[in-house]
Symmetry: D2
Subunit: 337 residues, 4 copies
């Protein structure tokens, strides 16, 4: 931590800062410049509330030197985290594609799409039983009934299941049915949920908040990791910007940034990021070219009739074609599908 | 709802849209323009998933005509909602100031600040027992022990208590202690929490998500109102933008916009919005000048020693001085404190 | 400037950085922490392109300690800059209101509104002869003819004139007619224009770019000041965010922040910020309560018939009423109108 | 254009709107719904200032139906625009890579890099003689001397030259030297410059404003096209968001969106978008996978010694390696390099 003093700060003010820092268990080091003085605080720099030092007389600014996350960082663990599941290794050499409809609607719909996905080479099925919806008047998901349908699909098709959990109180029931628990974009900083999922020990896919920084995403991962649950998959799904042509703005540079800062697997959700199925194939290929470990794609057997998110869903034919293109891109970047 | 057809859409495509709309229970009305054709859908326009119509051949765009919220709107209820509590009437003629420290630290700290606030004219004390923190390594609040301290403060000082609840599973316990339940910015779209608070029947202060539009804020209020809990206070607390000098960007124009769209009381939190105590007095005055019904202000007996958010807390002297300025501004806009 | 080394940076890498810094004319100072080493560079820290140091082996990040602007800063000049013009003192004790229509339309329109504004207490008339328009098909302003009309208005009414200049090549002609040159939001970083206006020696109102930070606004002011033109007025006019209910988001906290960082006068344009005339009175009052030195307000004799920006224009009656409210608010904050 | 009336608008108000619309040369069509009435205006809908209709009694909102750009749209011209230049066809089947240093520094530097780029397969050299810099204290470019150097490079190497022009008054001189005129991100809405470049008839690369929408980019292109200069290349170069790890956020979904809305070629600048050379290769590959027609990449012979933007420049070796990867990606999407 570095404390930058105001121009003209007095010796007494500098000393007070230095004393305060040492009182907090740091060593302090004063660097006197031509125009400014800085005080470096040496030691464990993850002090809670360092900003209160800015209230001291003569202090201009407090700057952090160390990253606020630890367990999630490459400095802590250099090699990639790989999560083995249902015969695939998420974060390994192969690209993992998770696909399926936005919502579980009924068993027939799910069976239709599940078999089509399996045939296209998918190992993990996504579908929502509990749905976070902006409007209380929109379809809120089938709930437990939806989880039961997913369990049947898994039994019949052998696909693993990823599905969303919306609150700490739902973790036990969802964990009973799902292979991977999904945390939605609006819940990335639902800290009670992060603690509960950390405790559950289940693999988790953590979506970036649509208005959260990459550092905040890693801090939310840190919550889960701090419970010794190391099976965390990060997901870039678009951020909110001033541009309204697309539902959100897919931040693909987050992929190499995250792979550089962290050892955790990184997947991309082009369906929610763009909101338009026509953009999903190009953004999926771009994500793999950018180094993503996998994709989360909405596929619906009849998008026009979907109860939610139809506009951003591929139909099975288009999805199957996309899988072929992904295979070719993956090879260029030294991966496979 | 209006469906705008693509240039060159065929009669057959227009008819298919018209038929689909009628199948959904609307009347349809075709308007043929020089370059474009539109289809108006007449009826209850709060259709779930109208966007799926964009998947039909020849459709360019679907535009909404009606507001997606109803119970929260002025169209539904023209007169201001007023919430009576502990001798004050939130949303009434008087400006309601809620103040207190970020976190409950201990009984002595709380008593100190509570008596000072009471003397300055405050009726409602804010303080957090459960704290949402970006980092798992930061102070997470005293929990139930903090709630117990707040109960003692209420008993001794007569102040009403507003405190945050972080998940649906905590509603019963927090509702036992608090006079107003606070929903934090990161939980504005925690829909399980919204349902649970709607059910609780307690007054609630709903903070705008730092990434949420005004319309989304009203949709989250709608969740609570749809449970027949009408005691909802809206709170503007700054939104996330590209500007980093302030913690967030206080969107004061949201105040008159919300007062115009909705009958619910609107308060402003200048402490979290700005992140710097020096900016709190000017932004508090500006908020009242802009038509806010109240303020939520962080006050700490010794900001430099606060365990959280010290940098944005006023000390009691500065707060007391601010209360005098607010009184003068309130009079100019026909209100009182 | 502080160079933060990567964890595990070698002594050799640290020495290379230190040598490089000294080669650039700084003194260097190495601070070895428990986990990280930092190198402080002492001297004139306004080095162009310090970021290239991040390319050196072992360097994690380069952090700036000093503000990048100098002439615009309070550190350089503590007392407020006051710009005397036509009997008013912009930046002085009195609030300066500049008002008028978006565009000069014809002499009658301008005379109508000018006399009404004068009667309401305005000293400076705003109106555009050259208009920056998103669409090439929109009205682009009357050009020189508009400037001629403004000159006639000044002669007849005694009002001073502020009008926009859109490019360096237009500065000579506009400077011939205008009392204050206005730089629009899209031109805040039109550096050729900034240089030309700096050279002109005329008072200038510099609008914040809708996409620009407060620091960038001050850097653009620095361009003008570096030509020894010290008559610069800063203008907050709303920034672009994800919120679309208002045309832009008025960042009122920029007012106290700018007044704190800089000695230059700060005015607010609530018309462009909000885009809706109904929001202009409340935001004008809030701006004065927040400490603004003045306002820039669109007033049109018949907003429904305006050729541009009618939706955000007050009519003269509403404007006249607002002037009375502003007087009362100004008094509360120790100012007058 | 569709005018949505307020709930409870009177027949008289609806009629007044209808009359006004007809007075403006439209046919009007009234659609009476259960809760709301709308008035459709049929005719040429590119009315300047339709928003003033919102000032009429009883009007809630005015919604546009038609795209505001015409010459730039696919509806106007279905087939791709291809710009032939120096043996390459920008917008054609082959990916066009333009590369070079941020600034022209001296002839030796430029010759070094130019020959290396030529060897790597580049046909168009980018380098700045006039430099837009946030700070007046930063290197502002060599100006005319830089243009002279570029002319020598062209003569010796046969490379075509793209270089930036910063104001309308510079167009004649830059047009004399450059093969493609570049409009920088801060000048996307410098309308005087757009007019001047339109008049020049030279090929132009138009960078998206870092805070401009895709629609605004196309409107700026429309300015140039309206002067019958059809050789416009659009460039996505990152937009400003709340994320600060990267210099800007590269909006790759803009590529397929632009290719869908417009017939103009679309290139991507991953160097300015990310600000870090490590991110340039992955984002370049992603851009080609997303369907870009070309790339604009910063390459410097010795990035650590660059006078500007060194941190985001590739050295020639890394660039040469990237060219090989791009070739492989291009083939997957049916293109070549």
């Amino acid at each position: 931590m570095i404390i930058i003093m105001k121009m003209g700060a007095t010796d007494k003010e500098v000393k007070a800062v230095s004393d305060r820092i040492e009182g907090l268990g740091f060593k302090s080091h004063i660097v006197i410049g031509d125009e400014l003085t800085i005080v470096a605080a040496i030691g464990d720099q993850r002090l809670p509330e360092p900003q209160t030092l800015e209230l001291m007389d003569g202090v201009a600014k407090v700057t952090h030197v160390m990253k606020p996350f630890k367990l999630a960082s490459r400095d802590f663990k250099a090699e990639d985290t790989v999560i083995p599941l249902n015969g695939v290794r998420i974060g390994g050499q192969k690209i993992t594609v998770m696909a399926g409809p936005c919502s579980v609607e009924d068993l027939d719909q799910m069976l239709d799409v599940a078999w089509a996905l399996k045939e296209a080479g998918v190992h993990i099925l996504r579908a929502g039983a509990f749905k976070p919806r902006t409007s209380p008047y929109s379809f809120q998901g089938l709930g437990i009934e939806g989880l039961e349908i997913l369990a049947q699909i898994r039994e019949q098709t052998g696909l693993a299941i990823i599905t969303e959990v919306m609150g700490a109180e739902q973790v036990p029931v969802v964990a009973q049915y799902a292979d991977i628990l999904q945390i939605g974009t609006r819940n990335m900083q639902n800290f009670n949920l992060l603690h509960a999922i950390g405790e559950s020990g289940k693999p988790v896919l953590l979506k970036r908040g649509m208005m959260s920084t990459i550092e905040e995403l890693l801090m939310s991962a840190e919550y889960i990791l701090s419970h010794k649950n190391y099976q965390v998959i990060l997901c870039e799904r678009g951020i909110r910007t001033f541009e309204t042509v697309t539902r959100n703005t897919l931040d693909l540079s987050a992929v190499p940034v995250l792979k550089n800062l962290s050892h955790l697997p990184v997947v991309v959700d082009p369906s929610h990021a763009t909101g338009h199925w026509e953009l999903v194939p190009s953004m999926s290929m771009a994500a793999v070219a950018a180094g993503a470990d996998g994709l989360l794609i909405e596929v619906h057997p009849d998008p026009e009739r979907a109860v939610s998110d139809g506009a951003q869903s591929l139909n099975p034919e288009r999805f199957s074609q996309l899988m072929k293109q992904l295979k070719a891109i993956a090879e260029v970047v030294g991966r496979s599908t």
